[in-house]
Point group: C2
Chain length 332, copies 2
């Protein structure tokens, strides 16, 4: 049985600084990039792609870290576990996540690869294509898991991207075990349909046995169950984990838990969608805030939709407006 | 006499990466900052202020560098001379200015202080307050001046901020001499009214003897002549340099050259002013593009107003939209 929690959510993820630049479809084609996907790149590829990219802006990112910043912006208590190097981008990452109110105590790694970065190409349709050089984050392992933090949080949140690195995978399993042993819940985001393709068998087993709360978008859940129709995927997912929150961009989201189902409309973006980077991350932030603060699943889904709408209204994957203020009416 | 020019403008300035974060008036007061001003800070002060600031975004900046990026965005040929270190922020600065189409060939400095940064606090009134840690830029000296570039450019553009560092001041004088010896013109921006206060006698002598094209905003030109009324300053300026372009934010700008006077309206910003960082830099960009492409002074002023309106419509001091496209109607 779990005791009182010091944190609502502790998240494990890749600590990355995003470098965002505009690009057109021809640029993606010339660099063999599949729009909307995440590709892992090495230092040399990162150098080459960066050289070809237009002028960028740098914003601290990383999927889990974005979610935790969103949670904090709603007033939640969030802690991040991830690995940066002792360099300028590491200092930027640590500053930004702490300044946003997220607990982050891991010391930067001395020596080894530099702090990871994600080169993000934003096309005119507001879609984002990610190119991740993990750097220091690639060395994330079980020894980086702060077990006291995991035990002290209501929910341990894991990003599917971690599954691409063998030692991060161990860290992921270790954290899930510690959380469950402490009577806590484990949440997973599938992160990316290509990531799901790479690790389908593992993810199926995880969802069945280790995950209490699953986040996935339409492409990811279809990839997991090897179907092309969202409704077909839906027929499979509800048998597995306690809660699944499935997002469908402008079509809204569906939250299912046993026989309970909530259809949640997307929140309109008055000025139009500028950049979809972080939409899924912020949906998870809103949802987990609701869940860990005693709101019902429908309200939690609506909080997710509200947070996602804020983050797609501007460039970058972290909220620019206080989500607590935006959510005040919904939670009144 | 000058031969054909390879560049329209070569600019000498501080190579800085901007770190922008929102702050309120209370934050400025608590940190003894004067709204709208630029303060030089050392490494320790930078550390302390950064620790207290909210989450930031990083965008390559530096006053002169911003102007050159604006000039390139209009289709002009621009070259930058400045000093970065061989570190991550130095690589970001070099990437962004080159990706924007500005020639920048100086190798990064090995060892010594890190690449400079400017901590920018943007208040809810869209005003910006600058806190500059010069880092590698503080070591800029005459040996950094690429004399071939200076000789090859129609205009050599200098930022008043350089006057804060003794060796940068020498570099500045050296470049102005080389430019004039090659039959080229020298432009100066006064940069900041507090900078003018610190160096009034020098700036007065410069404007009288060494500067052909002067850029100043209302506060700066009033500080230069120790008057409180813009019209009083105006009575002084026209006797000195060949061309003066004086900006007054939403009140527009005034371009004077001998007996020729142009009153240029500000260009409206439909969505409202978001962040005034870079407004003066981009005005200079548009003006210098016009001047070096054979447009009259009124059109040059209108190009300045158009470029400034673009940059204040979003966070950050570099254009997000092609200025050449925005200016197409004006230049048709």
């Amino acid at each position: 049985m779990s005791g009182p929690a010091d944190f609502d959510v502790v998240g494990l993820g890749n600590a990355l600084v995003d470098v965002l630049a505009h690009a057109d479809d021809a640029f993606l084609a010339a660099h063999d990039r599949v729009k909307g996907s995440m590709t892992l790149i090495d230092a040399e590829q990162a150098e080459r792609l960066y050289g070809a990219m237009g002028p960028g802006i740098e914003v601290s990112g990383g999927s889990t870290a974005n979610s935790l910043v969103g949670l904090a912006s709603l007033g939640g208590r969030a802690a991040f576990v991830g690995r940066v190097a002792a360099d300028q981008l590491g200092a930027v990452f640590a500053h930004d996540i702490r300044a946003a109110g997220v607990h982050f105590a891991a010391p930067p790694a001395d020596g080894g690869p530099p702090t990871g970065r994600c080169l993000i190409l934003v096309t005119p349709d507001a879609e984002r294509t990610l190119n991740t050089f993990l750097g220091a984050a690639a060395e994330f392992g079980p020894e980086d898991v702060d077990v006291d933090l995991v035990r002290a949080a209501q929910v341990t949140y894991l990003e599917g991207y971690l599954w691409d690195q063998p030692r991060a995978k161990e860290a992921f399993r270790h954290a899930a075990r510690v959380a469950h042993d402490a009577g806590r819940r484990v949440a997973l985001t599938l992160s990316d349909s290509f990531c799901v393709e790479r690790h389908r068998a593992d993810f199926l087993a995880l969802v069945e046995h280790d995950v209490d709360i699953l986040f996935a978008n339409e492409a990811e859940i279809c990839a997991l169950y090897e179907v092309t129709d969202f409704d077909d995927a839906l027929q499979r997912v509800d048998r597995h984990c306690e809660i699944a929150a499935l997002t469908r961009s402008a079509k809204g989201s569906l939250v299912i838990s046993g026989s309970e189902v909530h259809l949640v409309d997307a929140v309109p973006v008055p000025g139009g969608v500028v950049d979809t980077t972080g939409a899924g991350d912020l949906y998870a932030a809103g949802f987990l805030y609701g869940l860990t603060h005693g709101y019902d699943l429908g309200t939690s889904g609506r909080l997710g939709a509200l947070a996602a709408a804020e983050v797609v209204s501007h460039l970058g994957a972290r909220p620019e407006t206080s989500l607590a203020v935006l959510a005040a009416d919904l939670l009144a």
